[in-house]
């Protein structure tokens, strides 16, 4: 095993157990792991965004070889032709950066306005097409289709179609507030609440399942790193964190919390 692999295992183990130590209480190990995560993530995204997007796709189109701006001495050759339109996003980006100076902070609004407008337009189309029209179309089923069995656990059936239509309508009606939810209408909307509760229950179950899966993943790594190949990284870091936390708790009894 190479030195870098062993060092990586020790760092990974320390950060994992540092985050887990929060289950005991807020402590310096957790703070270290949290801050390292935030710092490394931000730096990584900034660096990779510059080298894979801004450098080839923006600068490459504004300062190509033999382009009209080549006289500036800046040349980024990515086989692109000069495209003056790319000055516009660069200008907006620079304006957003300049806003760190108090007197120029108004400049950021232009870039933000452009981004918001583009995002709103893109999302409006996507939601309407994929989440509204397609879903409405799929919910419009032939309930009593002769070719379907009455009941099926896994596939389409008359029973499932009835549940689909009643569930959709009753849940939608629950959010109809122009009529008082009393009498038969109230009973129907109450049915909608039950459908919503089943949906929330399923979401909670899936969320728990997801968290346990992540725990399984971390434990798998910790088990792997506890081997002699990695110089018993898990055991070493675990003992270190427990002893230090014990000492720290003893030194700071007033910070005990439940």
């Amino acid at each position: 095993m190479s030195f870098s692999a062993i060092l990586g295992a020790w760092i990974a183990t320390f950060l994992t157990l540092g985050i887990f130590s929060y289950l005991y209480r807020d402590n310096p190990f957790y703070k270290i792991a949290e801050n390292v995560f935030v710092g490394v993530s931000a730096a990584y995204v900034a660096a990779i965004s510059f080298w894979t997007q801004i450098y080839p796709n923006l600068l490459g189109r504004l300062f190509p070889k033999d382009g009209p701006l080549a006289f500036t001495g800046l040349v980024f050759d990515f086989n692109h032709e000069f495209n003056i339109l790319y000055l516009f996003p660069m200008l907006l980006g620079v304006m957003m950066l300049i806003s760190v100076f108090q007197q120029f902070n108004w400049m950021a609004r232009w870039g933000i306005a452009y981004t918001v407008a583009i995002a709103a337009g893109l999302k409006a189309f996507g939601y309407l097409n994929s989440n509204v029209l397609n879903q409405v179309s799929a919910s419009s089923v032939d309930i009593f289709s002769g070719s379907l069995p009455f009941f099926s656990l896994g596939g389409d059936s008359v029973f499932n179609n009835i549940v689909l239509v009643v569930g959709t309508l009753s849940a939608l009606m629950y959010f109809y507030f122009s009529k008082e939810q009393t009498g038969n209408f109230g009973r129907f909307t109450r049915l909608g609440i039950y459908f919503l509760m089943v949906s929330f229950g399923a979401s909670f179950g899936f969320a728990v399942m997801g968290r346990i899966s992540l725990l399984v993943g971390r434990f798998n790594d910790l088990i792997e790193y506890s081997s002699a190949d990695y110089n018993y990284a898990t055991l070493g870091v675990l003992v270190f964190i427990i002893v230090t936390l014990g000492f720290w708790s003893f030194q700071n009894p007033e910070r005990k919390e439940n």
Binding site: L23, Y24, Y44, V45, I48, S49, T52, Q53, P56, N57, G60, F78, N79, H80, I118, L122, K123, G126, Y127, N129, S130, N131, N134, Q135, S137, A138, G154, G155, S199, A202, S203, F206, A207, V208, M209, G210, I212, S213, L214, L215, V216, G217, R218, F219, N220, I223
Partner: protein, 288 residues
């Protein structure tokens, strides 16, 4: 009866750290002493498998790695399985990433299935970059990237992950936009991911697509399967385990299912005890 009620009340008021410890044990013990539990395929996983089987042999497929290390245990086994399945059917794989660390996940997955790196593994392939696969890499911009791929791939990808010009790569010759792919797959852990691929990739172009998602997203993504916008779905680690069974390559997801099941039992027991304790306490408070 009162004795039993007192025990339930005590269990209902147990310190949260005891619950953490018990869940930790429930996960750790099955991992240390592997227990084999049966895995049954769900219809969405079977549909997913059939969807990939239905792609004409030797097609060009786009695989997007839209996750990072934080959700690796759930998505990575799926993506490794999907790569294996697609390579087995002779497809050429084009790998994109909407998440910055997705590129390292892709490199890890490729390493796992490459003969050169894992010569002893029976489920590896003699694959070559720029012949069997190409790593296009990460681009920031989320849905804007997908929209760009749908109209003109070369406006988004000037160079691949190695810095080579896309125009100089032979494997990219016939690829202009998403319509040139036979299939799109996204291994997604959130935003940007499955939702964006459906809205701006699959739906507008009509290219068949499917996805593997984290468990947390399943409830929101599953309607896309019912409408046919997604051809099947791999739902969290259980979905990955079912898929490993279908492609007949047992992996880390199947190994994790016993731990998953035991942890669920502990959680369900505590939910039951917590509720019973609540009702017992409510009844006693009413009495006195």
């Amino acid at each position: 009866m009162k004795f039993l009620e007192n025990i339930i009340l005590k269990l209902g008021a147990v310190d949260r750290r005891v619950i953490f410890f018990l869940i930790g044990l429930a996960v750790l013990i099955p991992l240390l002493t592997p227990i084999s539990l049966p895995v049954r395929e769900t219809p969405t996983t079977v549909k997913f498998y059939d969807g990939i089987e239905d792609i004409p042999k030797n097609s060009k497929v786009l695989v997007s790695f839209d996750y990072g290390p934080s959700t690796r245990p759930e998505i990575h086994p799926m993506n490794v399985g999907v790569l294996r399945h697609m390579l087995r059917n002779g497809h050429q794989i084009y790998i994109s990433c909407l998440w910055p660390d997705g590129i390292y996940m892709a490199l890890d997955a490729l390493e796992e299935i490459t003969d050169e790196v894992n010569p002893d593994n029976v489920s590896t392939f003699d694959i070559k970059e720029y012949e069997d696969y190409i790593l296009l890499g990460y681009r920031p911009g989320a849905e804007a990237v997908i929209k760009g791929l749908a109209s003109d791939l070369r406006k988004v990808y000037t160079v691949d992950a190695n810095g080579n010009f896309i125009d100089d790569i032979e494997m990219m010759d016939d690829i202009k936009n998403l319509n040139d792919f036979a299939y799109i797959y996204s291994g997604s852990a959130g935003y940007p991911g499955t939702f964006e691929w459906v809205k701006y990739g699959g739906d507008p172009t009509g290219v068949p697509m499917s996805s593997g998602t984290t468990s947390v997203q399943v409830n929101e993504v599953i309607p896309y399967v019912q409408t046919g916008q997604l051809i099947g779905l791999l739902a969290g680690m259980p979905g990955a385990a079912e898929y490993e069974k279908l492609i007949n390559v047992p992996g880390i997801a199947i190994q994790g299912m016993a731990a998953q099941s035991f942890a669920h039992i502990v959680i369900v027991l505590f939910i039951v005890f917590g509720n019973l304790a609540f009702f017992i306490k409510q009844r006693r408070d009413r009495k006195y």
